[in-house]
Assembly symmetry: C2
Homo-oligomer: 213 residues x 2
């Protein structure tokens, strides 16, 4: 398995009208470069050649636009994770590899939207933030469930013990490792995404203490 396991089209997942998508694409660029807090509605609409008021025909606020973006990127990854897990079958090591390769493909293949989803969600407040945190927890819990199942079946040997807290810590570490691939790595890593997937797959299986195949 050397290809990213999801459609490589670069459309944002938010859908909506053509203008909503254009606003969202401009927002990704600006949120990525300057952060959501420092970006103004005027910056976003200006990048689309619109007046500031035009945003409110499509989103109720800048935070609403950020929320829709961040939520939909997480929903997309969650949905694709369901698909790769179904394809991976019952072996925990194969499941772990599939999830890691998916996360790495997103982080490296859709660098800006991934970074916005994984960094700027902290700018959300209230129920929106809770919703995104729940989606993130869901992703981590899927990794954790696979790690715990593997530990219980003897396929993994987790750092600290083959128990739920160790599975949770390993899941948080592996998911962080995959979504926070450093800017420096992404810029200085010529071999490309399949090679990165391979290396992160190896590192994740090592963290899990996977039995050599």
């Amino acid at each position: 398995m050397t290809e990213p396991q999801f459609p490589r089209g670069d459309d944002l997942p938010i859908g909506g009208t053509a203008l909503q998508r254009r606003l969202a694409e401009a927002a990704v660029e600006l949120f990525y470069a300057h952060g959501a807090t420092a970006t103004t509605v005027r910056d976003i609409t200006g990048a689309c050649g619109l007046t500031p008021g035009a945003l409110y025909n499509h989103f109720s606020s800048k935070e609403d636009l950020l929320y829709v973006l961040v939520r939909d990127v997480h929903l997309q990854v969650n949905e694709q994770m369901t698909a790769v897990l179904a394809e991976a079958g019952p072996e925990p090591a194969t499941q772990l590899s599939a999830m890691v390769r998916l996360l790495v493909a997103h982080t490296a293949g859709f660098k800006k939207r991934s970074r916005v989803a994984n960094r700027e969600f902290t700018a959300l407040t209230g129920a929106r933030r809770q919703e995104v945190r729940a989606l993130r927890r869901q992703l981590r819990d899927r990794l954790g469930a696979t790690l715990l199942a593997g530990a219980e079946q003897g396929a993994f040997n987790l750092a600290g013990g083959n128990d739920a807290p160790s599975a949770t810590l390993a899941a948080a570490t592996i998911s962080n490792m995959c979504v926070h691939i450093s800017e420096w790595t992404l810029e200085h890593y010529p071999p490309g995404i399949p090679d990165l997937q391979e290396r992160f797959d190896v590192m994740a299986l090592r963290i899990a203490g996977a039995r050599p195949a």
Copy 2:
């Protein structure tokens, strides 16, 4: 080794006058909670019972205060890394463990200042940002040098090959893993810092492909 390997005093490393330290402590709280961009000079001085103008007797701007804070946290970690490496002796596995335990102790023991140093440095611009990036690179390069030395000596077996690019990727992964311990983990991990250090040590040695001792 079960204790954090550095003085546990909670003083910020920036030194300076009592009022400078008070401003810096207030800034850490605010930058941690809201981000540096969203925090105003008025917020910082207000938290110290001062008028906004008072900041400029001590720092040339909010960015200057952020810069001093972030730089000094990085300098402190760099200095402590020199000390733990000197103590660790020549074995790459012992060196790697010592560096990982130091980074984990900082991230978990000084949660707010670490998070500010590792997240808010992106709000710096120009020469200040370059300087902090160079300090971060220096930390990563020390991990990378140990990983490469261990790979060349046969003590480690790096994912992807025992070469410089693999050492660099492993170094970036291990350092990210140690400084981005999730908020969730830090809040839900009752066993405490020595236990976390132990587990991250095991995970880092696994990532490095260390020969079982």
